[in-house]
Subunit: 478 residues, 2 copies
């Protein structure tokens, strides 16, 4: 059997790195900071894509594709945007063997080039709203990279919408944050907190950034999706205007929102255990793995026959199922491998099961005997669906309980500094950048969000003691 | 009503360019040679993707994602490959504000970087075959570009497989060409001819390139998908080796195959008419558009009620249907717009239809009265499915008949030079590069393929008169 993973408590970071490689989710590319998403990881991403894309289409959005290359001058049109992104750009200077007259940036995000096209396409209020999403790759020249969490090139979707009124654009911003939260909670079993970013943490060029924040098992926060209200900043930079119903020329109001392959990191670090991945059933590339167990040829043929019949039955019921018929491998080694790869349900079938019309189900989220049950082959798809629903519920409950147990309300700044080393602090903040910066300097914790759900009333800033009317989550973050 | 399209006979090229823009399939990007694929074009591409991806998965392939950037030195490892691609490269020389020690190429195709990873992943015969596909974007620095047909950046899939034996790799190459042909014929109604490329036309680095070639309505050929047998060229360049069952270290045999957004150009130029696009029903983003017709408020409410009921009924039956309820637009203008955009079936419903329980169906492939029929609202989904099947059949028949009428068997080189100006020549060829080059120089026609289907026997080379044992299609091409 291969070497064990390091345990999470021993070295969380190394547990993560090895798990990503050994579960064959991703691999290091020969270009610094880039990753190869391997078939198992990409299948997970495809399920994430489908879960989101369905929601985008239900809320009236359509997909399109905009160019990878952006003229450098475009980025410079929005002052905060270029300041935010210029340290992270990859630049194409040569094409077809010739130096280019204007360097091209490999898109780090597409507000600018999409803004340019919207200015061409939008003339009248009848053209609004424009609700477009793009699935694609972007590049940000990061110095410290980690598979999925921070890579030079990553995969994401970026929605870009244009609206006639400020209110409509703000509603869209919040609607898409709700879509992300709904996906995270109901498909990925990742509990998230919705809120606003502070001024210093917002997207370069946004008026307001909103975020969903999740707590990983090392208590660090992971920003899992963001939705930005861009006001008229990009509309002014790119002259995106429309004639309103009174024939007046107006700037549009825009939004943008994105969720990336980083979310795979959130899934790994929310649910994984010392045996490996624990994938949420709705997104798992393989939901059920069937492992046949036999000792001799006679048993083999009877067991395999039943295994194949159940395989087809589960597949026909729409479950993503795999029959692991490898001859050269023991059942024990198969168990080990599929546990490492996080398959939610393992179905074991042996000669006794064939005779009695039963199978054994083992749920990945509860290792060992406790997670095993013997059930009838009759109505197996329904039994497994119910089990998967229960697994989803358990994962979500466990992660939520973990988060709640690691959110603190420190009584003073001394305690604050201590708790953010082992959890999140939920503290009053006066709103001044200085206090936020002091926290970061003293503790490495940053403001994660000003949650929409507030206790009400007012308090004293955890740093300076001045009056504060909002509570903020502070945490060390990925 | 907007200005008419130029007719195909008047100016085929301008008909194409204007149609792509006016049907809102794509638009020119602000970067030379790049395109924006607009939502309607991207929805068509998504349907193409699904139709292919289903076939890839049925033939045992999985998807993954490899990096956009390739170290320049990788391309240089395969001599023919770098010679073929180096004039077309976009090169990143700066990242994060610093010059790079080794320039990075934006992938023009991914044999090299995938080869590098396969060398890491493949150790034993048990790891073979590796059957991976990637959906993504690539960049080739083309000088003369046209939307969909030839753009700097384009979207495609590239399959890359590795096998233990030569025979298996050749079988894979041909299997995937069959998958492309099956898709083209049965989903896109684009008849294609399967064959081998000549030495001068093959992929840079391949041992054998195979292709599907389609005839456009201006009789030019369009290479619509290619599948390459790469022998051990990339295996040697990247040291992709495995221990075989006798414990001997062997190089793998690889293939690659791709189909791109160029195929959208094939659909447009195979089926389009002077009114606009004619989309094949299986791939059309909107298969049925419902246009309600009424003169006053009383009629309006009755008509809309029935229209909505039918809309939901068709949608529930799995059809991609749109109800065009725009108030500010006449039915005539709606007809014009949906004809331009190539929707296969238009459903008209007026007050009389409401009373009599009927609707009028208009098929896009037969404009005017001839294509209209009045049918019962009862069983409408089945009626429309049958109609769509008939449309598919008609499109395929029409395109096949057009192609057959424009393939010539010229008796001598003088006639050859004439016929390739108005069709394809199917002629004996001795196999010498000199004769192929002379044809290109004299006529601009190139060898399109050596079809697998050969008449047998032998003949005289159409150029030099020497003995020839194969017939080849020659044509001007996109």
């Amino acid at each position: 059997m291969p070497e064990k993973l390091p345990s999470r408590s021993e070295d969380f970071s190394e547990w993560y790195n090895q798990l990503v490689l050994r579960a064959e989710l991703a691999d290091y590319a020969p270009v610094r900071g880039c990753m190869v998403v391997r078939p198992y990881g990409w299948a997970l991403w495809e399920n994430i894509q489908q879960a989101l894309d369905r929601r985008f289409k239900e809320t009236g959005h359509v997909n399109a594709a905009f160019p990878l290359f952006i003229p450098m001058s475009f980025l410079e049109k929005e002052k905060e945007h270029v300041e935010g992104f210029s340290p992270e750009l990859a630049v194409v200077t040569h094409g077809g063997g010739e130096p280019l007259s204007e360097p091209l940036v490999v898109r780090p995000t597409s507000e600018t080039i999409i803004g340019y096209m919207y200015a061409k396409w939008i003339q009248s209020y009848r053209d609004l709203p424009v609700l477009i999403n793009q699935w694609g790759n972007v590049v940000r020249w990061e110095l410290r990279t980690r598979l999925f969490l921070r890579t030079l090139e990553f995969y994401w979707q970026e929605g870009h919408t244009a609206h006639a009124t400020e209110q409509e654009a703000i509603e869209e911003t919040l609607r898409m944050l709700d879509v992300y939260a709904d996906f995270a909670i109901n498909d990925a079993a990742v509990p998230v907190i919705k809120g606003k970013k502070t001024e210093s943490e917002k997207f370069a060029g946004a008026v307001m950034s909103t975020t969903i924040e999740a707590m990983m098992q090392d208590t660090r926060a992971l920003q899992s999706g963001t939705s930005h209200f861009l006001g008229q900043n990009f509309a002014r930079a790119f002259e995106i205007r429309f004639l309103d119903q009174n024939n007046q020329l107006q700037y549009v109001w825009t939004t943008s929102w994105g969720l990336s392959t980083r979310f795979i990191g959130a899934i790994i670090m929310t649910h994984g255990d010392d045996q490996g991945l624990v994938l949420p059933p709705k997104l798992a590339p393989i939901q059920v793995v069937i492992v046949p167990i036999y000792k001799n040829d006679a048993e083999r043929s009877a067991v395999l026959e039943t295994a194949q019949r159940l395989f087809h039955e589960l597949q026909a019921a729409g479950l993503r199922v795999k029959l692991d018929g490898r001859e050269e491998m023991t059942p024990g080694n198969k168990f080990y491998e599929w546990e490492l790869r996080g398959v939610p349900v393992r179905l074991e079938i042996g000669p006794k099961d064939v005779q009695s019309g039963s199978v054994t189900l083992a749920r990945r989220d509860r290792p060992g005997r406790e997670g095993k049950s013997t059930v009838s082959q009759q109505g197996l798809p329904e039994t497994i669906r119910a089990l998967m629903n229960d697994i989803h519920r358990s994962l979500l409950e466990r992660a939520t309980a973990f988060r709640e147990a690691h959110i603190f309300d420190p009584k003073d700044y001394a305690e604050f500094q201590e708790v953010v080393q082992r959890g999140w602090a939920f503290s009053w903040w006066c709103g001044r950048k200085e206090c936020e910066a002091k926290i970061k300097e003293d503790t490495k914790a940053t403001s994660r969000c000003i949650p929409f759900e507030q206790p009400g009333g007012s308090g004293r800033c955890i740093v300076c003691g001045e009056k504060a009317d909002q509570k903020v989550y502070f945490a060390r973050a990925y």
